[in-house]
């Protein structure tokens, strides 16, 4: 099989078709591991146990972890996939148990699958350990999750030494009933928090507060556990870890595990239309590669981004390959545990040739080394990319990992900047535990768990900070002050009302009809509902597309039906932004960068249907919905008047709205009179405000204003139709091109989804005292730290954006840089590039 892979690699190398699509082919030579002997200090029984299991030495990073842990430090371990991370915390925990059989450890995993995987691994260790140290032979390790039968829970609480659970159980079942766990928590010696890079954004901000609650309860029982965390490689792992611990954390990052030769390829499907920047689809290309691997009998994993793509590829591969149904399997959430387990074993034993998976297979599950891995499109974060690619690789033999780029700007950017994937990961996991909404919810839960005494803080928050929150909760009737303590007094169970995955506030429940019955499929916070689940919207949930039939804002529910479409929807919105406070600002090339608190008032006016593959617009519809207010944190950049003057003088400024020449006012009124002050598309007459007058052929395309403003080029339109007309013309301005590229690039720095960020452009912004301004803001009320980070990384962001646009091979804008260009108007690429140049402090006056 290894021979096969080497042969295939050779043939790919020599194939012109293949090679021409490979942007990067990086070969990492075979690496031998660095080993050290089992430390002498390690309890005899544990040493014997490891030897029995064939572990005669440790990788240096494991030994380092064990050493630091034994000196009582908190640790975060960030070594690569399959580098033996689990042992880094298993050993310290078992050491503690060897020395004090009363000690307890709490393991927290983000997924059930990981929990059970670790449970089995730990049981394996304990079985052997019990033989070497008989007083540990009855030591119990248990999984405590939603599937744990009630009948067993009592026994688990009283007997377990090592408890494996997930954040939700800790949040809703353990902490609110901590008295039942008094014995366990009193002896809590270790807390293991695995895969912390998953805990970012809203979820991460909740977890940080959950850890505060855990430590608060532990302190009550006079327990001061030590923490060991693990993370994928991110740029701020240590800082991120310390935000959960609120204390110093040592970093173990030097991976000393061995691996064979690794080939990492970035594969960009060929351009089909150079000018419009359209490439062949990543899925189709990936499928071709997968078929070759299958033919050559090379064990591989194909990672797709959605459950739907998994099923699509699976069907194709199973049907075309002669033994497809046995050789090729799917793996995603929704499969039964036994089914997944069977696949994991099949992979380890080699009787399954290929697995098509979602990221469900990315986290920690032990499947052994695989010959080849293909990623269909960039998985969304570099950390995930590396974890998925890391599935390829064996101790001694050659492996290959290929990422097939899609048309997304980030995919395209990474094909030109492979260093981010191959060398330094610029990603940071960001959380904001101080988000008032999230904090408030956990203070409710914490007050339920134990009364707050006068002078109590919460985590590293002082009593001064939380006093205001407690007083607020008292005023809202859930706390009472008695003897200088705040007591929970409501007949409610707050943890049940707090979802760790949303910021709080009102929710819209999403439901679909199955056999005449309403089935809930999820929920969405109310502000997001307006743009994500307006009537007619295509909503993706668990890989299934739904169309929203009805959005009931009074009953807070939306009715969805599953549909098969080749398009998605984009809400058309008009937003107004208002500054509440400017927290910080600083001069930068071309103007001033700022961050602060803002209020965004958004009116969804309609939506358009965009084809998935080509991103071409299939049509648009109007909507009438009430406006929504969002109070949040934003990062904004104000262009200075001088900058605009320079750009204007070079004819690189396309955002002047009202410079339509001296006769504009007259012509505009004449056009409105002629059209009887009525919208010429929808027929709505003017009310208290004048309708807009629209240039049928864009103003800028005429040599003089007289020609552009001729009555036969003008038409009266209501604001809504006007916006649609502009959209249809797709005249892109430099500012909107800039917004597009920043909005698409920022998620790479922030490890977030594009939908976590809002963007707003205004040539005359109130945030910048009437100067042109671009605003990026957190879509979670009160912010989760994205905008603050953008402010700090302004320089890197505009540099990357400049590189991306400058090196994009398209003519005048494409989906991979400043957005698709227009049919009648300009794509705005030239203007956007000029803006990016001045933002980078480059001199553009000489062309």
């Amino acid at each position: 099989m290894d021979k096969n892979l080497e042969r295939l690699i050779k043939s790919w190398k020599s194939s012109e078709d293949f090679a021409s699509n490979v942007v990067v082919w990086q070969k990492f030579p075979e690496r031998l591991g660095d080993y050290v002997d089992l430390p002498d200090e390690m309890p005899e029984a544990l040493q014997s146990t490891l030897r029995d299991l064939g572990i005669h030495s440790l990788y240096t990073h494991q030994a380092e972890a064990v050493f630091h842990a034994s000196s009582g430090e908190n640790l975060v371990i960030t070594t690569g996939t399959a580098s033996g991370k689990s042992l880094c915390y298993q050993i310290p925990v078992l050491e503690a148990l060897c020395r004090d059989p009363q000690a307890r450890a709490l393991f927290i995993f983000p997924t059930k699958a990981l929990t059970h995987d670790q449970q089995e691994s730990m049981q394996g260790l304990l079985q052997v350990l019990g033989k070497h140290q008989p007083d540990l032979s009855n030591l119990v390790t248990s999984v405590y999750d939603g599937d744990t039968p009630t009948a067993q829970r009592q026994l688990i609480r009283s007997q377990t030494r090592i408890l494996m659970t997930n954040p939700d159980m800790l949040h809703t079942a353990i902490l609110p009933h901590h008295t039942l766990w008094a014995d366990f928590i009193s002896h809590l010696r270790f807390v293991i928090l695995d895969e912390i890079h998953v805990y970012r954004g809203v979820f991460g901000s909740h977890i940080a507060n959950l850890m505060r609650r855990l430590r608060r309860v532990a302190k009550f029982y006079n327990a001061w556990p030590q923490h060991i965390l693990t993370s994928a490689t991110i740029s701020n792992a240590q800082e991120h870890a310390s935000r959960f611990i609120e204390g110093p954390v040592s970093l173990i990052s030097q991976d000393a595990s061995p691996h064979g030769e690794q080939n990492v390829l970035l594969y960009n499907p060929p351009l089909v239309d150079t000018d419009l920047g359209i490439r062949r689809g990543a899925l189709a290309e990936g499928l071709q590669l997968a078929e070759q691997l299958l033919e050559d009998n090379i064990q591989s994993i194909i990672f797709a981004r959605s459950r739907r793509s998994v099923e699509l590829m699976l069907r194709q591969l199973q049907q075309t390959h002669k033994n497809g149904f046995n050789d090729v399997r799917g793996y995603r959430s929704g499969y039964l545990r036994s089914e997944r387990r069977e696949i994991e074993v099949g992979l380890r034993q080699g009787n399954i040739k290929m697995v098509v998976a979602t990221n469900a297979l990315e986290l920690g599950i032990d499947i052994g080394g695989i010959g080849a891995v293909i990623l269909i499109g960039y998985p969304g974060t570099i950390a995930a990319t590396r974890q998925q690619m890391g599935r390829a690789g064996r101790r001694q033999s050659t492996s290959i990992a290929i990422m097939v780029a899609s048309a997304n700007p980030l995919d395209q950017y990474l094909t030109r900047h492979p260093e981010f994937l191959l060398e330094r990961n610029p990603e940071q996991a960001l959380i904001n535990p101080e988000n008032s909404l999230i904090l408030l919810q956990h203070l409710r839960c914490a007050a339920f768990e134990l009364p707050f005494r006068d002078g109590d803080g919460f985590g590293n928050l002082t009593s001064g900070v939380i006093a205001e929150f407690l007083e607020y909760l008292r005023m809202s009737g859930v706390l009472t002050l008695s003897g200088k303590q705040y007591y929970w007094i409501a007949d409610k169970y707050p943890a049940a009302q707090v979802s760790l995955r949303s910021a709080g506030g009102e929710k819209i429940s999403l439901r679909t009809e199955v056999d005449g019955r309403h089935i809930p499929i999820g929920e969405i916070d109310r502000p997001s509902a307006f743009w994500m689940t307006h009537p007619g919207a295509i909503y993706l949930h668990d890989g299934v597309s739904y169309r929203v039939e009805n959005l009931d804002l009074e009953e807070n529910k939306a009715d969805l039906i599953p549909v098969n479409t080749d398009y998605y929807t984009e809400a058309l919105q008009q937003s107004e932004v208002e500054k509440i406070t400017e927290i910080e600002s600083q001069l930068a090339p071309a103007g001033q960068k700022c961050y602060g608190e803002i209020q965004v008032t958004t009116q969804i006016t309609g939506y358009r249907k965009v084809q998935w593959l080509t991103r071409s617009i299939l049509g648009s519809e109007e909507l009438s919905l009430p406006s929504v207010d969002l109070r949040t944190i934003a990062y904004w950049f104000v262009f200075s008047a001088e900058t605009v003057d320079i750009l204007r003088s070079l004819n690189l400024w396309s955002n002047d709205a009202n410079q339509y020449g001296p006769n504009w006012k007259l012509q505009r009124n004449l056009a409105r009179q002629r059209d009887r002050n009525t919208c010429q598309i929808c027929g709505v007459p003017e009310q208290d405000k004048a309708h807009h007058v629209h240039h049928k052929i864009p103003f800028r395309q005429f040599p003089s204003y007289e020609q552009a403003n001729r009555l036969d080029n003008l038409i009266t339109l209501c604001p809504v139709c006007h916006q649609r007309a502009e959209m249809n013309l797709r005249v892109k301005s430099g500012l909107s091109g800039l917004g597009y590229v920043l909005h698409n690039l920022a998620p790479m720095l922030l490890m977030c989804d594009q939908f976590d960020l809002g963007v707003h452009l205004d040539p005359q912004s109130p945030l910048g005292d009437g100067q042109p301004t671009i605003v990026l803001y957190d879509l979670v009320p009160a912010g989760i730290g994205l905008s603050d980070a953008l402010y700090l990384q302004h320089r890197g962001l505009v540099k990357q954006a400049y590189d991306l646009v400058k090196h994009c091979p398209c003519g005048d804008g494409c989906p991979s840089c400043v957005g698709p260009g227009g049919e009648n108007g300009g794509g705005g690429k030239r203007e956007a590039l000029a803006l990016l140049a001045v933002l980078n402090g480059l001199d553009i006056s000489n062309g």
Binding site: H177, S476, G483, D491
Partner: protein, 404 residues
């Protein structure tokens, strides 16, 4: 002026909930006087207790609350797995709490206690004027409970005891309820009245069994948390009087129910107007705990009462099955024949067929009863489909065996 947190949270979309009368500081009313509480100094703390004494002639419904003249019957001791306890060794307990959801954020603000003494039946209600007094209440409660050998509750094993245990833990105290004998009358009541009463709540047992009706002061249990929380907000204890009444009645009824059950278990047939169904439940209890002679007597008594047909059949079959186990075939056959003859019991026919085939070796009689069972098949309720299929198969096999 700096924006308040409330305004900010409102702008972020947090709803404070229903507007409440917040701004008013709690009134400074004399809670002890209004509720008639006695301040009992206890170590360094003060516990607030309402006391009432019911003389031994006090009648609570059909029950005289004077100490039960008989000791706890052995059957109850067996069933509850306690040591034998005299009535004077029992303390009755019922709590009123700030919530029904459970969890560490719920506490008991009123703990009702009752016990028999020389003075009759003594009631004490321990009250939290405010949450900070909890440790004092718990200490006083511990001292009271420690004086007794067993505690009697209604659903206390699932509710009151775990809740109080949690409160002791939170106050870093040892709970007196851990390790003490505990008789939970809910479970016993369920067993005894399962077939007769659809609703086995204390309230309904009070009406149906003890013949008590509560006065207008009574407030329903689900309103209790709200009334206390409202009191903490307003400082006005007057509405709590209804809660004290409710809790006092619960304690009295608990004691009365105990008296009733003790008498009933001791001698079911001696009760006024004994109910066949209740007696049958007791018979089953005796049977399951291995008191066979008592069980036989009770089943026999049951048969002379007005039992609904299905329970009559059940009584006959269970009665017969005891004799079968004891291999007293004549008695068993007599009962089966009665069930088959009077009630058309298929199960009895099958038992008889078995008996004649295997014990009496009388193939003709066995075949006769098999056919009789088959003939009765159409009377089986339709919903017992699986049972019917199994039965048909069994009967067929038996018949094949018998005609061979």
């Amino acid at each position: 002026m700096a924006e308040s947190l409330a305004d900010k949270l409102k702008a972020l979309g947090v709803q404070m909930g229903a507007p409440k009368i917040q701004a008013l500081p709690p009134q400074k009313l004399n809670v002890e006087e209004i509720l008639g509480l006695e301040a009992i100094r206890h170590q360094d703390d003060i516990a607030y207790v309402f006391k009432e004494n019911y003389t031994s002639s006090h009648q609570h419904g059909i029950i005289n609350l004077g100490s039960p003249t008989i000791l706890q019957p052995e059957i109850l001791t067996q069933w509850a797995r306690t040591k034998p306890i005299n009535p004077e060794g029992l303390i009755f307990l019922d709590t009123e709490t700030t919530g029904l959801a459970g969890g560490t954020g719920t506490f008991a603000f009123l703990v009702g206690l009752g016990w028999w003494s020389d003075q009759g039946f003594e009631l004490q209600q321990l009250f939290l004027r405010e949450p900070a007094e909890e440790a004092a209440l718990l200490n006083y409660l511990e001292e009271q409970i420690r004086r007794f050998e067993g505690v009697v509750t209604f659903n206390g094993k699932s509710f009151d005891a775990p809740l109080l245990n949690a409160r002791y833990t939170i106050n870093s105290l040892q709970s007196p309820l851990k390790g003490i004998d505990h008789i939970d009358l809910l479970h016993l009541s369920r067993r005894i009245w399962r077939n007769r009463l659809a609703d086995r709540s204390l309230g309904n047992l009070e009406e149906q069994i003890l013949r008590i009706s509560r006065s207008a002061e009574e407030i329903p249990g689900w309103m209790v948390p709200e009334i206390y929380i409202e009191y903490l907000r307003t400082g006005d204890p007057a509405p709590l009087k209804g809660v004290f009444y409710h809790n006092a009645m619960d304690i009295l009824s608990l004691a009365a129910l105990y008296v009733y059950l003790v008498n009933f278990l001791e001698a079911p047939s001696r009760m006024d107007a004994p109910q066949g169904l209740d007696m049958m439940a007791v018979a089953r209890l005796y049977e399951e705990l291995g008191y066979i002679p008592q069980a036989l007597t009770l089943y026999d008594t049951c048969l002379s009462t007005e039992l609904p047909k299905e329970f009559m059949e059940q009584a006959l079959l269970r009665f017969a099955s005891i004799y079968r186990r004891e291999r007293q075939w004549t008695s068993a056959v007599r009962l089966w024949e009665r069930a088959a003859g009077e009630l058309g019991s298929i199960a009895a026919c099958v038992e008889l067929a078995k008996f004649y085939e295997h014990c009496d070796r009388n193939k003709t009689a066995a075949l006769e009863w098999t056919e009789r069972a088959e003939g009765l098949l159409p009377t089986l309720p339709v919903q017992m489909k699986d049972y019917r299929v199994k039965l048909i198969n069994d009967l067929q096999r038996r018949r094949v065996r018998l005609v061979k």
